[in-house]
Point group: C2
Chain length 154, copies 2
């Protein structure tokens, strides 16, 4: 019933602290944020929070199923509060921006591997790689002037 952030924490057996509320709010405001970026944002909101506390909180939220961690190659872990729907991600090879994408085939796409090697599969994680609109070479214009926040491959 209680859908507030406080209720969410309590219903998962967690005590309510300013740090947790702030970190929770932060990943809601900025999905796909890194731990260190989240710490920065949180500090602006409540003045001070230790790095360790941000890591702890994020790990706890993931454990309790209140947050999801993804980790595209060449990127530190990213956190988002969209959970429970097994959506996928689209990552720009140039600037690293991440967008959500829904499952293409409706539900649990690709969960049947062609040969499961006798594994018990519980999740198919799909990462689409490409170039975001901003990083795409513009038709005739020069394509050299970008400000990559991430090392471009190749």
């Amino acid at each position: 019933m209680d859908n507030s952030p406080e209720g969410l924490l309590r219903s998962h057996g967690l005590s309510v602290t300013a740090q947790r509320l702030t970190v929770l709010q932060t990943i809601t405001d900025y999905p796909h944020i890194t731990a260190d970026q989240a710490a920065e944002v949180a500090r602006k909101k409540i003045g001070a929070i230790s790095r360790q506390s941000v890591y702890d909180t994020l790990n706890t939220l993931v454990e309790k199923g209140l947050a999801r961690r993804i980790q595209p190659m060449d990127s530190p872990a990213l956190f988002e509060d969209r959970v429970g729907d097994n959506h996928h991600h689209l990552v720009c090879r140039s600037c690293g921006i991440v967008e959500d994408v829904d499952c293409s085939t409706g539900y649990r796409p690709c969960l049947q591997a062609s040969d499961d090697n006798n594994f018990i599969i519980d999740e198919a994680e799909v990462t689409y790689w490409g170039l975001c609109p901003k990083c795409q070479p513009k038709s005739t214009k020069s394509q050299a002037k970008q400000t990559p926040t991430r090392k471009a491959k190749s």
Copy 2:
């Protein structure tokens, strides 16, 4: 025409060195190996090789398309020499072992995301998560006795 490891390196504009040959051989022998493990193996073969050299070689091989790098969550980068077929991977959540799986739908599976957010998508990377045969709880027997080489989630 020259299909030897030496020819492979030369045809990609790389000079042939003992270090490169050894690292190349190593990822062929041990697909899904980490850089540090590859260094260990390589040292057994040729006596000595610097850590940096292994990293350099692996990066070069990936750049030249002679190797592929994958990076499952909570794992250092893994290297394999199977390239050019965009196959996928099956990862055990308990012991971390990685197996190859072919594309379920034949070619470029899932490459059509439901909504591409105007990205130009060039690859769909699929990681299947689950439990390998060895790590699966056996029917009625105790399920506590495993030797996890990787921190189990939960």
